[in-house]
């Protein structure tokens, strides 16, 4: 009797494991595709691609698109689109430059002020969508035109505004400081390694804790071997990435910002009622409304968050160029949307993860970086990136249909 109960439990666990695997197959697939792409470029560039310097650069270049991709994921999850984010980022970057250079605002006041502006701009764009049901395509395209005009307007007198504030410029170019330990690993960034080690310990600790909690509920857990294998894999991954980064200048401030953004949004989407409500609105807005979730409130929140992330993106980009230019932000929205779709977001709504979109952004950025290193012409680069985007979406479609 007891034994047969055990087998049903195991069987049930297996089916649920299979369901989870199936659900996430596109995410795993993109992750594998990312590794394949990276290995491919490493081989074709004689290892230059995977060099510490290149990976560090790649992450810094990706940062301002990746933060947009995080917000875009949620926008698409709730069945909308946001076409104004590039110009909003460009405009807010220019706003920061003007505030610091001409108005003499301190950098620590500029950054929060610009982020608040971003939230307000996002919510303003969302108003016709949330209140009147105007298609987001139209509302955000109009907003994009307005922000583009605003960018040209504020840079009209000056053209490119050079930013001299070193704190601000460190956001896109700087790295976290190193520990002054003479004699120990002179070629390596020690603090990066220590943080990597801390991350490994933390991830193992939290995995063990969550396993223990599940056991205390008498839920089945994966067998111990599988659990250990998973731990080892995650540890090796974190270890390898930090090892590579420590070989150049260590963790950049861009990466810090990106990691914080991903952690916060990953937490909100997977662990909080707000996250559930966002996915519910995307999955079935009418059912969500009748379940006591205000669809218009969720729309404001998601567009507001997107606006905040646009401001971060604008700050990161202006900082990276050490200046605000009249063309800043051009085409950011396309890259962000592409990253989200490559990462498995569904335009039908309700489906898509933050981590998936980050992997999508990494895939797209790796392609650009790798092809640049190989000296491939920009014309071919566009074609390859377009092909990868459409193939990823086709693959996603097919795997989803099979379920």
């Amino acid at each position: 009797m007891e034994e047969s109960k055990q087998t049903t439990n195991e069987k049930e666990h297996l089916t649920s494991l299979l369901t989870v695997l199936k659900t996430n197959i596109s995410a795993y697939f993109m992750f594998i595709a990312l590794i394949v792409i990276m290995v491919f470029f490493t081989v074709t560039t004689d290892g230059v691609f995977i060099s510490s310097r290149n990976i560090s650069n790649l992450i810094n270049q990706m940062g301002y698109i990746a933060v947009l991709a995080v917000g875009m994921t949620l926008i698409i999850v709730i069945r909308h689109i946001e076409l104004s984010v590039g110009y909003l980022a460009g405009f807010l970057g220019a706003f920061s430059a003007i505030a610091m250079t001409f108005w003499g605002w301190p950098v620590y006041a500029v950054i929060p002020a610009v982020m608040i502006l971003g939230v307000l701009a996002g919510m303003l764009t969302a108003t016709p969508v949330a209140k009147l049901g105007v298609p987001a395509f139209v509302s955000t395209m109009a907003a994009g035109l307005i922000f583009r005009g605003a960018l040209l307007l504020v840079t009209m007198g000056t053209g490119t505004i050079v930013i001299k504030n070193s704190v601000f410029n460190a956001i896109g170019n700087g790295f976290i400081p190193d520990l002054p330990i003479p004699g120990l690993l002179p070629e390596r960034h020690k603090l990066t390694l220590i943080l990597g080690l801390a991350a490994i310990v933390l991830s193992i600790f939290s995995a063990i804790k969550s396993r223990k909690t599940r056991q205390s509920y008498n839920f089945s857990v994966p067998n111990f071997g599988l659990f250990v294998a998973q731990m080892v894999l995650v540890s090796v991954l974190i270890g390898y990435v930090t090892w590579i980064l420590s070989g150049y200048n260590g963790i950049s401030w861009s990466l810090v910002i990106l990691l914080v953004v991903v952690a916060v949004f990953q937490f909100i989407t997977t662990k909080t009622p707000l996250g559930r409500h966002i996915y519910a609105v995307g999955g079935n807005p009418e059912a969500a409304e009748l379940s006591g979730i205000s669809v218009s409130k969720i729309t404001y929140i998601v567009f507001g968050a997107m606006g905040m992330l646009s401001s971060l993106s604008g700050i990161m980009y202006a900082s990276r160029l050490r200046s605000a230019t009249t063309t800043a932000g051009l085409g950011f929205e396309t890259d962000a949307i592409a990253a989200a779709f490559v990462g498995g977001v569904s335009a039908a709504g309700g489906v898509g993860t933050i981590t998936g979109s980050i992997i999508g952004a990494l895939v797209m950025m790796s392609l650009t970086s790798g092809m640049n290193l190989m000296g491939i012409d920009i014309s071919i680069q566009y074609i390859v990136r377009g092909a990868v985007l459409v193939l990823a979406v086709i693959f996603d479609r097919i795997t989803r249909r099979k379920m």
């Binding site: 049930e12 369901t19 989870v20 909690t213 662990k271 909080t272 409304e289 379940s291 006591g292 205000s294």
Partner: protein, 507 residues
Amino acid sequence: METPILEMKSITKEFPGVKALDDVTFSVRKGEIHCLVGENGAGKSTLMKVLSGVHPFGSYTGDINIEGELQKFGNIRDSEKAGIAIIYQELALIPELSVYENIFLGNEITNGLVIDSNESISQAVEILKKVGLDVNPMAKIKNLGVGKQQLVEIAKALKKDVKILILDEPTAALNENDSDNLLHLILELKKQGVTSILISHKLREVLEIADTITVLRDGKTVTTLDVESDKVSEPILIKNMVGRSIDNVFPKREKITVGDEVLRLEDWSAFSYAHGREILHNVNIKVHAGEIVGIAGLMGSGRTELAKSVFGNPDHYRLSGKVFIRGVEQKFRDPGDAIKSSMAYVTEDRKGNGLILIDDVKHNISLANLKEIAKAGVINENEEILVANQYRADLNIKTPSIQQKVRNLSGGNQQKVSLGKWLFVKPGIMILDEPTRGIDVGAKYEIYTIMNSLVEKGMSIIMISSELPEVLGMSDRIYVMSAGKIKGEMPIEEASQEEIMKLAVDY
């Protein structure tokens, strides 16, 4: 014996992990009305999909013969050419196009390149006459009622050279009047020589019009009965469908004394901007603790609108009148407010606005009450699993796991997930809108039992239903609605089908 117009022999169709059809044999005589009945998941729809080429030749085993000739349909077009027309429960009409444009959709009458509207319209008039539908062929589909849309769909099928007309639950979305019209039409078409296959859960109507009935159960043919010579009755059909006899379709419940008033509407009216007219007029109703109040009426009488207008008014009608919950007047701004006042609304259309189909069972159950399982703003997913498993056990939800996507469950189990979701809100007043629509006999009985146990614990249930036996079998008290008004109120002892119907058609 003459050659049957349709003969499906030893049809077996497998999906990964499931044998949907197992050696099914199904034979239809020319000119008859043949009904196909069975619980949900019995294989009726799959069988019709095999017949119509949705599941193409080669994806199943067995033979399909039409008038003695072996058929190998690769797609729906092939089956249409062979004279098979299917009308699905979900209508396939384009709302923004006119009646005649829909009738000729895909087979437009042209002068070479350009559509000949005059010819199309005059032909459409002829076809519409055949189905007894008196509408302007240039009217847009969206402006017609569901019943009339159904008839347009049939007209569209008849325009082609139809040998076999298949109707998949055609009356599920229709009120009694429209249903009667439709059934009458099927009989009329029979006189004209059209052979019909009808899939339906409504056994009464099946018995009314069928010549022959085939019962499917778990992907197998249980029996084929001749209605007259086999003296088929509802109990016989039910017994064959479920494999056991259900003595009481409606479970008995302990009669308890009705408690305090929990809900009262005073002069409740609603104006719909979308419809441009008042859809509820001076509704006055009362609901007490521990009773099931039935709201009967035809489709379109304003029952669902009444429920939604009280439940936080998500469609933004302009309201007047008062709502009292336990004697206190309430003004709900949205469904969230109504939920806070311990109300729950299990929607009529569980796929459309009830459940998140692409999400799993546990997330659907917890959705309306996440704060219950969240601590400091963080959802405790382990608690969520406990809750979901609890309702899965309590409500006997048949699913391989609570991780299963709701989309993959049968109608009855989806309905139970819906119920579970709203029970988790721990409501005092529950509105059930068509709680057993489109679900099989066994699951219906289970849902009735759940309802009984809820009111025995003191909950109040408002049950909106189009099925008169259900209203009569379950309610303690009945309101009848018509044209947005309450036409009458009766205690169960004084209610009869005739009495309810008389009020329901009183405009």
